[in-house]
């Protein structure tokens, strides 16, 4: 007789009590997630179908039918895509150097990742407004180096926005990649080389597939954070680059149009859920 059969009947008092204890342990967290997260989001979905005249699709028609708001949605996506792409191009090679670093150098490099991660987003965005002013350090350095002659206008341009966003969301990209690269067994690459693979082939056929889980996690995090960023566009570019996030804030805080704001919120939420679902699917797929 197997052990499983011996431990039957299933509904023994001990199993019951353990299960009840487990349910009791998760109950407070369940109440918070259900009551203060899931239910309000469902309610928001409901509000997005309501306006002054009752049930309606008008909010979505306004959001998805007007060229202006399609441009706003594109602005959000563009911010997310550019930030994610640039952050990835910097992070991926840097993660390999970080994984090779030892001793005090590794501590120093990790500190430069964690300190900005722990620092306030508002403080960092404020720092970029100082750095990028026309009489700011970046301009004066470029002039001193002879690269430009007159100060160029950087603050309140898309360049400023992307530089600030990459700066703020970079740690979210590099940390998951670093966590995977640090565990990478260098013997795989050596084996590939022994079997006659060129460095390029080794990279694309061995290293890249092995580090893919870290890339997926980093891209998903950096994109979902930058596509919905609010403080960064508000401080670094302002009114002329409206995004879904700034549209939501305006609808609630200034225009008092909760239905329209909710519809914009649902669109932003749908983008975030799509990214999460896609990354979960990609990281489950067998190699």
């Amino acid at each position: 007789m197997t052990e499983a059969a011996l431990s039957a009947p299933v509904a023994s008092p001990k199993v019951d009590r353990e299960r009840l204890t487990a349910i009791g342990f998760v109950l407070p967290s369940f109440v918070i997630i259900a009551g203060v997260f899931a239910l309000p989001l469902v309610l928001l979905l409901g509000v997005s179908f309501v306006d002054a005249n009752g049930l309606t699709f008008a909010n979505y028609k306004r959001l998805l039918g007007a060229p202006y708001y399609l441009w706003v949605i594109w602005n959000s996506l563009r911010l997310g895509l550019l930030t994610t792409l640039i952050a990835f191009l910097i992070s991926y090679p840097a993660a390999f150097a970080l994984a090779r670093a030892r001793g005090p150098l590794r501590s120093l490099l990790l500190a430069t990742l964690f300190l900005p991660l722990a620092a306030s987003v508002i403080v960092k965005a404020f720092a970029w407004t100082i750095l990028l002013r026309s009489d700011g350090i970046v301009n004066e350095t470029l002039i001193a180096l002879g690269i430009i002659e007159d100060p160029i206008r950087m603050i309140f341009t898309e360049t400023a926005l992307i530089v600030g966003a990459v700066n703020i969301f970079l740690p979210f990209m590099i940390l998951p990649i670093y966590a995977i690269v640090a565990q990478l067994d260098s013997r795989y690459a050596e084996a590939a080389a022994t079997l006659g693979a060129s460095p390029v082939v080794t990279f694309f056929r061995v290293i890249l597939p092995l580090t893919l889980p870290g890339i997926i996690a980093g891209v998903a995090l950096a994109f979902s954070l930058s596509v919905s960023a609010y403080v960064v566009p508000t401080l670094l570019i302002g009114e002329k680059y409206p995004t879904l996030a700034t549209t939501i804030a305006k609808a609630y805080l200034l225009a008092r149009e909760p239905g329209f704001g909710a519809a914009a919120g649902v669109v932003l939420l749908a983008i975030a859920i799509a990214v999460v679902a896609l990354s979960a699917r990609l990281s489950r797929e067998p190699k």
């Binding site: 407070p28 997260f37 403080v123 002013r133």
Partner: protein, 265 residues
């Protein structure tokens, strides 16, 4: 790796380190600016802006409010999140994986959307007291950090150690206190620090729940920056940064930064 690839990796890593740290150094330098404009490089040094922080309009109530909300929400989340993580790690909970995903899912959701959803939700049930709504809302901000850290911390904990301690004559509460608590202390500290910082720095959720008299520090700071940015703000930012540095330094001494990066060595 080829030599060229290694050089590219190092150039990127050093560039990245400088790029990430630059805004923090600039804020610190600007806080000592001798003039009201941010004259960099500095032509002198002045500490007078630090003295002016306390006179910023509405500064003290906002600082106190942010500290209260961050401390209380972190404390509640540490208790709830750790209990949930224990139940998930023990494996006696039906649907544990789904629930674990649900617990950390607010991390991936746009903060602003959560903010308006909570505003609608609280209004619908007539829950409008700003302090209490902020606290309840910040539970959703802090709980995912605690759950994520404690679930991965407990995944490495061997629950049979508690049984072993009991076999050796320890009482059940005694074995939890002397075996489980010390083993989980590093995870607990990391969870606490990150959830405190997440709450203390939150803007997108708080902005929809605050009113004229109840404004958290990030809301106040954004308002100062938009109205009249001067080195006083840089001084305030520098103090917040200094506090963060101390927190990280202490946690590095206690548990090591590389553990936060998710590597085990």
């Amino acid at each position: 790796m080829t030599r060229a690839a290694i050089i590219v990796c190092w150039v990127m890593a050093i560039g990245l380190a400088l790029f990430l740290i630059a805004p923090l150094l600039v804020i610190a330098a600007a806080s000592f600016s001798p003039t009201p404009v941010f004259d960099l490089p500095l032509t002198g040094a002045s500490t007078r802006w630090y003295g002016k922080i306390g006179r910023l309009d509405g500064f003290w109530p906002s600082l106190l409010l942010s500290l209260e909300i961050a401390l209380f929400s972190t404390a509640i989340s540490l208790v709830c999140g750790t209990l949930a993580a224990i139940a998930i790690a023990r494996g006696k909970l039906p649907g544990a994986n789904v629930f674990a995903t649900a617990l950390v899912s607010p991390l991936m959701m746009p903060g602003l959307v959560l903010g308006i959803a909570l505003l609608q939700g609280f209004r619908a049930v007539g829950f409008t007291a700003p302090w209490a709504t902020l606290l309840v809302a910040h539970l959703v901000i802090t709980l995912p950090y605690v759950a994520r850290t404690m679930i991965s911390g407990l995944a490495r904990f061997d629950f049979t150690l508690i049984e072993a301690a009991r076999t050796l004559g320890c009482t059940y509460p005694g074995s939890v206190l002397r075996v489980m608590v010390p083993a989980l202390a590093p995870s607990f500290l990391i969870a606490g620090i990150f959830s405190f910082l997440a709450s203390f720095d939150n803007y997108p959720v708080s902005i929809f729940l605050a009113d004229v008299r109840t404004k958290t520090l990030p809301i106040r700071m954004l308002q100062y920056i938009e109205e009249a940015p001067d080195p006083t703000l840089a001084a305030l930012s520098t103090l917040i940064l200094a506090g963060t540095v101390i927190l990280l330094f202490v946690s590095d001494r206690v548990v090591g930064l590389h553990r936060m990066a998710g590597t085990s060595d």
